[in-house]
């Protein structure tokens, strides 16, 4: 008995140490797992298609056709612009414009902050809004770095001035009390795909703003397809994205205005 107290047997020590080591090991493993699997930010899932838009600023003339087509197609209140065309200085003697739709970020702040998952990612990268779930807290608006969301402060009940000249509404109007934003015309993409069309190539599967552009400044397509118009354009030209330093990973790329191309 006495030796048990003064010097514990080897076996005992081993077992104790073994248990200790196991416990520590398990804790460390669980800790690292927990840390690696817990991400504070959310990220869009990578589905078969990854839709993206490329806007060539050399070609954009700031005519606003895209905005009007969007307002008609998505039945948007004339006070709201899902796609806003902003003038941004000059290159040579030509005006430069930045058309700004929703960026459909890969790591979208709006999706991350929404308390009720009313903003969410689709498999194809489109950042969607569930207008029936939204409670109208406007946290997404506060969080969006691109000012891409507009709140329905009032109900839009008037006649849409852009209809029928610029198109026919393809989606329901949003109710009062929720924010709204560009959806890459998901309804057109989905219907087009169901008909076997290729978004970006066939107008019936392509967002309204891309179809409406008279100078072909907008390209749309699948980043997963190396042969798509967007993949090729991004491969062949230098491009940039808005507020890239924030790490949001926008899916709207810009080809900067080049004077030679502008004049051509």
């Amino acid at each position: 008995m006495s030796d048990k107290r003064s010097n514990p047997t080897e076996k005992n020590i081993n077992r104790r140490e073994f248990l200790k080591l196991t416990a520590v090991g398990v804790a460390v493993a669980a800790g690292t797992r927990a840390v690696t699997s817990t991400k504070a930010s959310s990220e869009a899932p990578k589905g078969r298609h990854q839709w993206a838009m490329v806007i060539d600023q050399s070609k954009c003339t700031g005519c606003n056709y895209c905005t009007l087509a969007c307002q008609a197609h998505n039945d948007v209140n004339p006070e709201i612009q899902w796609n806003k065309v902003i003038e941004d200085g000059t290159v040579g003697d030509m005006h430069v414009f930045v058309p700004r739709p929703c960026m459909h970020c890969e790591k979208a702040p709006c999706v991350e902050v929404c308390p009720v998952k009313a903003s969410y990612y689709r498999e194809d990268g489109i950042v969607m809004m569930d207008y029936d779930r939204c409670i109208g807290c406007r946290y997404c608006q506060v969080a969006c770095p691109y000012d891409a969301r507009s709140f329905n402060w009032t109900a839009f009940t008037e006649k849409n001035p852009a209809v029928p000249q610029w198109g026919t509404p393809a989606v329901e109007r949003r109710p009062r009390g929720v924010p709204e934003k560009c959806s890459f015309c998901y309804q057109t993409i989905d219907r087009g795909l169901a008909l076997g069309l290729t978004p970006g190539v066939d107008p019936n599967a392509t967002p309204a703003c891309v179809n409406a552009c008279p100078t072909g400044a907008r390209l749309f397509g699948d980043l997963n397809d190396p042969e798509s118009l967007v993949s090729k354009a991004l491969h062949e030209n230098p491009s940039y994205r808005l507020r890239e330093n924030l790490g949001t990973g926008p899916r709207v790329y810009y080809l900067p205005a080049v004077p030679e191309k502008k004049e051509a």
Binding site: R133, C134, I135, V142, A143, L242
Partner: protein, 419 residues
């Protein structure tokens, strides 16, 4: 005949009635405003796409912050064994319940779809701090209801009518330590998350910093305790329904003085660190609060009156012992915390960050509309009315009340059951 004369109505305007009447008028105005908001929508407010959060969110943040006395004092009393402060914790709990219901009211006005307020509890986005805050607030409000049950049991009418229910409600007091633990956990979570809610917004550099949660938590504890102490002292001056033990309040007030040093330290460094270098958006925000339209708010209300002056009053014994000065100091602390919430929310929104690289940072402005002010005032009036009624009918501020010991639960049958 004698019976008849008892029902004869004799109308005398007492200060109490005048006070209730005043609050009633403000509440009525708010009710009209609220109905208009629900009917016409948020279009009649001065909120815009650039400033989507304004006066109401400040009232919401401030009520939650000033309700923090409940969890901090309950934790002190039931977890850290400072039992003699129990009467103050009792008041704080009631103030807490009022604060959280005020927050709920202002949120209900603020959200675009009040008919869907319950979505936040049903559809979870665990990534969202707003979700976390909502869940914690809902759960903590539940805890507060349980915590205030022994107080609500003081209602004379309820005691006479339903003595069994009131005795059950009083029995809740035995669970106070458990409730205090849950309350501490939930409050620590959402008080800091309310700051983090702003702190995670990378698009707005003025907010995007880790100390937001620390500042919100600290200021809430400081402001929450101060408001409870101030309310207790003020009511004891105004009515004999409120009885305070001034020695207790004086001790806690000194503690607030020390806490203020910590709050001041963090807030000062928060602002100082913004001066290190030019940081687009953050530096513009700093200009707004130090030199711009919010400078008076920041320097005078928040820093001088909200921290430095009360710090001196509460830490310098002669002024602390003086009831008037102590009361003033505690009131100023609470006002300073409200100013901090207002400054933080509005500054982040007034600086409009360009998303096009070479464009200049712009500013926008916001002034609450009449309807926002009326409804906001009504929410505050509701809080004041609830507290006043609590003082009168529930003995919310009564330090002479000695609650039975919560640690020793003794359950005895009142009478043997006979069939």
């Amino acid at each position: 005949m004698a019976k008849k004369s008892r029902f004869k109505f004799k109308f005398v305007i007492t200060p109490w009635l005048a006070w209730l009447g005043l609050l009633g008028i403000i509440l009525l105005g708010g009710l009209v405003g609220g109905i208009l908001i629900f009917w016409k929508g948020l279009g009649i407010t001065n909120l815009t796409d650039l400033v989507p959060w304004g006066l109401w969110i400040t009232i919401d943040l401030s009520s939650i912050a000033l309700a923090a006395g409940a969890f901090s004092l309950c934790a002190g009393v039931y977890l850290f064994g400072l039992k003699r402060y129990q009467p103050i914790a009792r008041t704080a709990t009631f103030v807490g319940l009022i604060g959280y219901t005020m927050a709920m009211l202002s949120l209900l006005l603020d959200i675009g779809r009040p008919d869907r307020f319950w979505h936040a509890v049903v559809y979870w986005n665990t990534h969202s701090l707003m979700w976390e805050v909502t869940m914690c607030v809902v759960l903590y409000l539940t805890v507060l209801v349980f915590e205030t049950m022994p107080i609500l049991a003081n209602l004379e009418w309820l005691r006479k009518r339903f003595p069994k229910i009131t005795s059950k409600m009083e029995h809740m007091h035995h669970y106070a330590p458990v409730l205090a633990i849950i309350g501490l956990g939930l409050s620590s979570l959402h008080q800091s998350s309310l700051g983090a809610l702003y702190g995670v917004i990378k698009a707005r550099p003025f907010w995007f910093k880790p100390e937001m949660s620390v500042l919100f938590m600290l200021s809430a504890i400081v402001g929450g305790i101060s408001l409870t102490l101030f309310a207790s002292m003020l009511t004891s001056r105004l009515t004999n329904k409120a009885k305070i033990n001034d020695a207790l309040i004086e001790r806690v007030a000194q503690f607030v003085g020390y806490l203020l040093i910590g709050y001041f330290y963090f807030r000062a460094w928060d602002v100082l660190s913004m001066t290190y270098t030019y940081d687009p958006g953050r530096s513009e925000g700093l200009d707004l609060i130090t030199k711009g339209p919010l400078a008076f708010n920041f320097w005078f209300v928040e820093m001088l009156l909200g921290m430095i002056v009360p710090m001196i009053i509460l830490l310098y014994k002669p002024t602390r012992m003086n009831r008037f000065w102590r009361m003033t100091a505690l009131f100023l602390v609470a006002v300073g915390v409200v100013a901090f919430r207002w400054d933080t929310n509005i500054t982040g929104l007034l600086v409009v960050m360009p998303y096009i690289a070479d464009q200049a940072i712009a500013y926008t402005s916001y002034r609450p509309s009449l309807i926002e002010a009326l409804t906001g005032a009504a929410i505050i009036a509701y809080g004041l009315a609830a507290f006043s009624l609590g003082v009168k009918y529930l003995r919310v501020v009564d330090h002479s009340l000695v609650q039975e010991e919560h640690a020793k639960v003794k359950v005895e049958a009142v009478e043997p059951v006979t069939v």
